[in-house]
Structures are given as C-alpha cells and as structure tokens.
C-alpha cells in the first residue's frame, strides 16, 4: 500500500535558530499516527510545514511528499499549495473560533470548501453540507447559524465537518480537544476517528496528552526539542519506552500511582532554540554522560526506533 505522507529530513528554522531538525515521518493509507510532545517540542511547526502554512520569516527544509500530489510540498508556491490544502490534506486546529469565518453562515462555509475545489456544484454542495453536519451530530438548523451562536464543542464539530468535506487523504488534527471539556472531548474524538475510518483517510494527530493519543492512534512519534526522539506502535512505546524522555513523560503523567509523590522530570522545558546540542534531553536526563554531547544516532527502523545513547530497557533492569 502506498504511504500517504512521506516526510524526510524536515527542518524548520527562524533566522539562525533551528526549531525542528531532521524529522522523518511516514503515514500509511488509513493509518492513525500520533505526534506527542510538550510545548516547544516542534510538533505544531511540523504540522504547519506539511501544510505550507509557516509564518513569513520561518523557513522549512527537507522534503514533504503527499501521495497523489506530483510536486514537492516544501517550498511549493501558494497557488499549488492552495489546491492541495482542503482537498488532499485538511487540518483541524486547536481553537475552533479562529478557524471559522465569523461573518459567514455555517452551511455556506462548508459548501464553500467543496465549491472552491470544484468537487461539487452549488445545489449538491448544500445537500452535502447538511449531510456532513448530520454526521457530526449537529442539528440541521446549524446550517443557518453563525459561529458565535455555537459552543466550543459544536464549533469544533463544524471545523471537523469542514475538514472532511472533500474526503482528504490525510487529516491533521493539532490539539483538537485541548480547549474542550472532557465529555465534549470524548464526543469530538469519537467523531474524528469515525470520520477518518469511514473515508479510509489517514490521520496525523498532534497532542500533549498521552492518554488521548493512546486511545486514538495506532502508532506514535514522541518529539522533544524539535526532534523525534522515539517512534513505534502505541502499545510498544507506552509499555516499553526506550528513550529516557518517553520514560520520564510516562512516569510523570501517571496519576494512578498510589504514592503521594509523583515521579518528575527535573528542570523545565527550555524555550525554543535553547535546547542543548547533542542529545536535546541531556540537560534534564539522569542518565546523561559525556557521550550525550554527540547527537545520538537513530536506532531501529523508520517506523519503530529511538535516538538515545543510554536507552531504557537494555538490561533487565
């Protein structure tokens, strides 16, 4: 089966500061891949560079290829990218209010995405919009509503309907439920998964929440300091982490522990561009040695591996 998205050696820099370095990422057809990391890890920048939506002075290097698009997407001009966006790749952002046009009725906005890409003509697009809304469990009156009349969860469902309008090969979700309440999050997550499964679309799901990734995705990439530090199937990475950062993150988010004290990772996430050279995690890592001043090589295959000089789980410790 063809891979939908192939990212090779992606880097993002602003002036002389590297924000994302050397990211390799493949998403197969119909596959659900998670990208996790804390703030400043470069996960959102990775998504934006795939879509060609980086701000003016931020530059991407490397290669991003999408199945069915016959040109390189890094550095492609706006005319070409605007044909890809919304048709082959769609994105759901964290903040649903800024993703919707406040002066347009919901129905028109959803129909517009199909009219722009000429996937449907006007009357059919109206019907399709109503159908899409029904699939995200919104009442038909929503068609005539404006975004401000909807709650956060309803807006995010509209954004999802909009993103799925042209049956994209790849749906990217960047923290889609972070701003939502838990019960609403449950519904939106379920709609996202059902939406991509129904269309056999691939999903790239970005979040800081390990439990959400584990529920939604099959495979996961862990980012820290602008680098992918570990990748693998969810079950593997979350039960037998190899990179020390993944290990620490799992321990720190374990609230089920019976002890009053939670396990912590010492220190703070450095601000962007202030990560150490060599292994990006070495300043917070208990296992760091002089060897860690050199950038660790990637061990394992592209879909399953890690970059650490002193991986966890080597001996039966």
């Amino acid at each position: 089966m063809n891979d939908v998205l192939t990212v090779r050696g992606l880097s993002v820099t602003v002036r002389d500061t590297a924000l994302v370095s050397d990211v390799d990422l493949t998403v197969g057809a119909g596959e659900r891949v998670g990208l996790i990391g804390e703030s400043g890890s470069g996960k959102s920048l990775t998504a934006l560079s795939i879509l060609g939506l980086l701000p003016e002075d931020v530059r991407a290097g490397g290669s991003v290829r999408l199945d069915g698009v016959d040109h390189e997407m890094v550095g492609a001009n706006e005319r070409r990218m605007s044909r890809v966006r919304g048709r082959d790749i769609a994105m759901v952002f964290q903040e649903p209010m800024t993703a919707l046009n406040p002066t347009m009725r919901i129905g028109d906005q959803i129909a517009e995405s199909m009219l722009i890409h000429k996937t449907l003509a006007k009357p059919a697009a109206r019907t399709a919009a109503a159908d899409l809304l029904e699939r995200v469990q919104l009442p038909a009156e929503t068609l005539r509503a404006y975004p401000h009349q909807l709650s956060g969860g309803q807006r995010q469902r509209v954004v999802l309907a909009l993103a799925l309008a042209n049956d994209p090969a790849l749906l990217i979700c960047d923290e889609p439920t972070t701003a939502l309440d838990v019960t609403v999050q449950a519904l939106v997550l379920d709609l996202i998964v059902r939406g991509v499964v129904d269309r056999s679309s691939a999903l790239l799901f970005i979040t800081h929440d390990l439990a959400v990734v584990a529920t939604v995705c099959e495979r996961v990439l862990v980012m820290y300091g602008g680098r992918v530090v570990e990748a693998g199937p969810v079950n593997e990475v979350f039960t037998r982490p190899r990179h020390r950062y993944t290990e620490g993150l799992l321990a720190a988010s374990d609230l089920e522990t019976t002890s009053r004290r939670l396990t912590t990772i010492p220190g703070n996430v450095p601000p962007a561009g202030r990560f150490p050279s060599g292994c990006v995690f070495r300043t917070r890592c208990a296992h760091a040695t002089a060897l860690c001043e050199e950038t660790p090589e990637w061990t394992g295959s592209e879909t399953e591996g890690f970059a650490c000089h002193h991986p966890a789980g080597v001996t039966n410790a």
Partner: protein, 289 residues
Amino acid sequence: MPEHIPTVHDLETPTAIRVVDLVRDYPRPRTSLLQPAPVVHALRGVSLEVKQGERFGIVGESGCGKSTLLRLIAALDRATSGHVIVEDTDITRLPERRLRSLRENLQLVFQDPMSSLDPRMRVRDIIAEPLVVQGHPASGERVRELLEAVGLSADAGDRYPHQFSGGQRQRISIARALAPRPRILIADEPVSALDVSVRAQVLNLISELVDELNLTLVFVSHDLSVVKHVCDRVAVMNAGQIVETGYTGDVYAAPQHPYTQRLVSAIPTLQRALSGATTADLLAKGESA
C-alpha cells in the same frame, strides 16, 4: 445523593469552610423593553463542608459554577442568598474592611500564572505584596524563605515574571499565596496550563506544602484524575449544583450520579487505552451529548 457517613473523628475536627444553600444569580442585559432581564443561575443552592486540614476537590466542566463558588468562598463576589462560613465567621455579607482576617487566612492560586502576576513587578515584590498590604513588615528574609520553600533560587527575587517558565511562575504564585501564612489554600486549576513533565513537580510541591504547613486545601479542576491524586474528598458540580460528594477513590471507582458516571467514563486513561479501549468507549453506553 449518597452522603458518606461522618466518622467520630470527622465530627471532632473543626470545620474550615461551610457553605450553606448558596445561590448566585447573574442578571444578563435586557434583550427586550417588554420583558424582564434574563437571569443566569450560576449557583442553585450549593452546600458543602470542608474540615480543617482536609484536601477537598471540586470538579466540574466549564460553566458548572465552580469558579463562582470559589469567588464567593474567597469573598470576591456577593451571594444572592445563602451563607459562607469560614472558620466560624459568616463572611457572606461582611464589608470589605472587616474581611482582613479572611484575606490573611485564605489565599488563592490561579490557573494562568502569567495573568495573575504583575509583569512590571520584581518577583520579590510580588511575593512580599500580600505582607505589605496586610501591614506586616516585608523582610527580605521571609521572601527568601518562601522562594526556597517553593524550590526557586534566592536570586529569582530580582527578576521579572516573564523571565520564568510556566511552572516556575506557578511556583511564584504559590510563594505569594503562602506569604501571609494562610490556613486555607484555594487552588483554581493550578496545573491546567502546564506541561505534563512540569505538572507533576507543581502537584508534588502543593502536596508537600499542604502537609508541612497543615493547610486546608480546596483544589478546583476540570480534571478528575488530577483531583483524585491530590484530594481526599471531592464534590462534583454540574449546572450550578453539587451532584455528588464523597471520597475521591469511591467517586472515581463507583460514581453514583449519572453525570459523574458520564464524566468518569469520558476520561481517557493510558491503562484503559492500552487494554484496547477506543474512542467509542469514552462515550458512556447509549449516550450522545
């Protein structure tokens, strides 16, 4: 509502905060000349009791009234009816000048450490401010002591809030809250804006300080799993009412009220996900919001 039966020990422990049938209505702007202004019922008769030294959690989703309840307990807002009694003083209708002891005894930590710290004040002045306001001498000694207690270096006092990361800023907020030696600490979503690896540090810090200083903790969060870790007892709020109260372990393991059941099942956890739970399992049986 299945109330937990107080043990003898519970009856003897003095009450730190008692809330009796608290109601808060907010009038909304009139929409018509002919009709009266619509009213939002933010709290509809809330009663609860927090014992001294207890770690009490309040859980609920946005709009459930948990922030309104906090504001009333901290006397930052006026109740429509009902009473708030903090350490045997009914503070519900006290004028500001008589709230001085409350302002010393009860301190708050807010969610967003950026907007709750004055960007133009040095950290040592921020921490000393509650002391100055209360008319205490704000010694450098005390500020250093507080910085150390929250795990910041002494030279942090010379810097400004923007020079710190989110987790460090939340430490500064905690140091400021502890400055007047309060007996009650109220934390409103103190870790919701923090990264996972830093969240654990701040939760540990709050836990340690509460133990060390014998504080009564009221911890408000939308995240039941965080509350479960921090608190002994929890009240679940929905639509301006408390729908369930109990020991956190019990509420989490066997929720009684339908709303709590929906809330608990909606929380994604690693354990459940790794044993094969899908997003469909997050929606309680036959439930569609």
